[in-house]
Amino acid sequence: MSQFVYVYRQSERPPSSPQQMQERLERWTTWLRNLQESKHLVDRGLPLEWSGGAVVRNRKGSISDGPYAESKDIVMGFSLIEAKDLAEAVSLAQGCPALDGAGLVEVRPVMSLP
């Protein structure tokens, strides 16, 4: 088994009605619970704030508030999962609710010790 980090990215926070928020919440809860029940979830991870952070680019006290990266997609959270190989990790990620909106999931293998 190898470990992977799912990095959830999204370009914008979609305006939603309360009902849509609830539906999204339920899709996320179900998805993470399924990962947990199939023993793929190592750590569900944490959601990140959309704003209010900083980017440190050098040691001279020059920081900016973002965008956090060149990419338009902001990291909105991450989880640590376990899968047989990249193919399995990718196929599990295809069920992620982030894909229902304007989001994407980056699947990054955790580096194993040599």
């Binding site: 926070r13 009605s17 009902q19 928020m21 609830q22 999204r24 919440l25 996320w28 809860t29 944490l46």
Partner: protein, 431 residues
Amino acid sequence: MNLDDALFRRESTRLVAALARAFGVHRLALIEDAVQETLTRAYQSWSFSSVPAHHSALLMTSARNRVLDALRHERAVRNLAPELQHRAEESEEPEVIHEELFLPAALRDNELRMMFTCCNPRVPEDVQVALILSLLCGFGAGEIAGAFLVTEAAVAKRLSRGKSALAKSRRLFDLEASDFGARLEVVHRALYLLFSEGYHGAGVHAVLRPDLCTEALRLVRLLAERPPGTTPATHALAALMCLHAARIPARLDGDGELLDLFAQDRSSWDPALIDEGLLHLEQSASGENLTRYHLEAAIAAHHALAADAGQTRWTEILHLYDQLLRLEPSPVVALNRAIALAQVEGPEAGLQALRAVPDSDRLAHYPFYPAALGELELRRGNLEEARLQLRAAHELARNDGERRFLLRRIAQCTSLGGAGSPKQRLNRAAP
């Protein structure tokens, strides 16, 4: 943890009502932004953890702090811009936080006040209903548009028009105000429209919009719970909603097809709602004021208590429709009366009454007018005319459910064409 299906909508309503009561209706836009932000953060954060046990209190505190921050920010901006000073003085007021307004005990009052605020007689009824759906039911503009077969932009316009009218007053409607009684009638009317839209509406995606009925029922129960809303008319309205809602499970068959009253499986009517409706009907029988809600509830009660269409007390129903027609002369009431008359005196009399419906041109787009003509012609054995009328109804049908319903009736005309006596096989009328 199993979530309440409407948890976010309910929280949204609760938050907006409490904050509008505490900080003033003139800050509705700012309050709605704060609530939106609070709920958005909640769902994102709960997606990774779980919904905390005391979520309601957490949301209330968080939304309240957001409003306070926004107000502090507004004030700071004003102080930086002296030319706006006169406006600052106008609205400068200390933010006294009335803690008790945020306690669970106040929630019902907050919502009731909001309900009366939305039913502002200065805004048209369709705007009142849109406001109720937005502020008291937590629906988004897109969802409201879907229920009313209008564009989202049209709903957004209604809402912004309504909200700016509300924002002219600072306080939510006071339930002790002297014009409570007059406002209560407007509230009844708006809740009645909300329910009717769910029950008879033309929403494309669902033949019925049970959500709208559920919401109207929830709000009328809130109103009927204790004074000053507990009037005979409120009970009558609650009775008519319960007794109609009881039939919702039977209005679609196993394949999702519409069934008329005559074809419904009455064993699937909801007995708890029937009991609740009858109890409200009993409680509505006091005072001198006979409203349309009393009469409609009484008609619904006759249907609810009858074992089948044949054992329904049509003579009493006809009598109630006569009273209703005097109280509320409308072509739709006249149409329903004609159907009842056909049950009492036969299709011939029903057809005559249908053709004599005053202002029947107002029914020109209502599919159930030609549908009723078609059904009675069919019952009379006049298949050719029945087919014509049902086809006309099909042309006017507002959604696929209605279209399929009418196509099935047209097909029956055709299949009866070659069969023996149609009268023996048919005992139906329009839904």
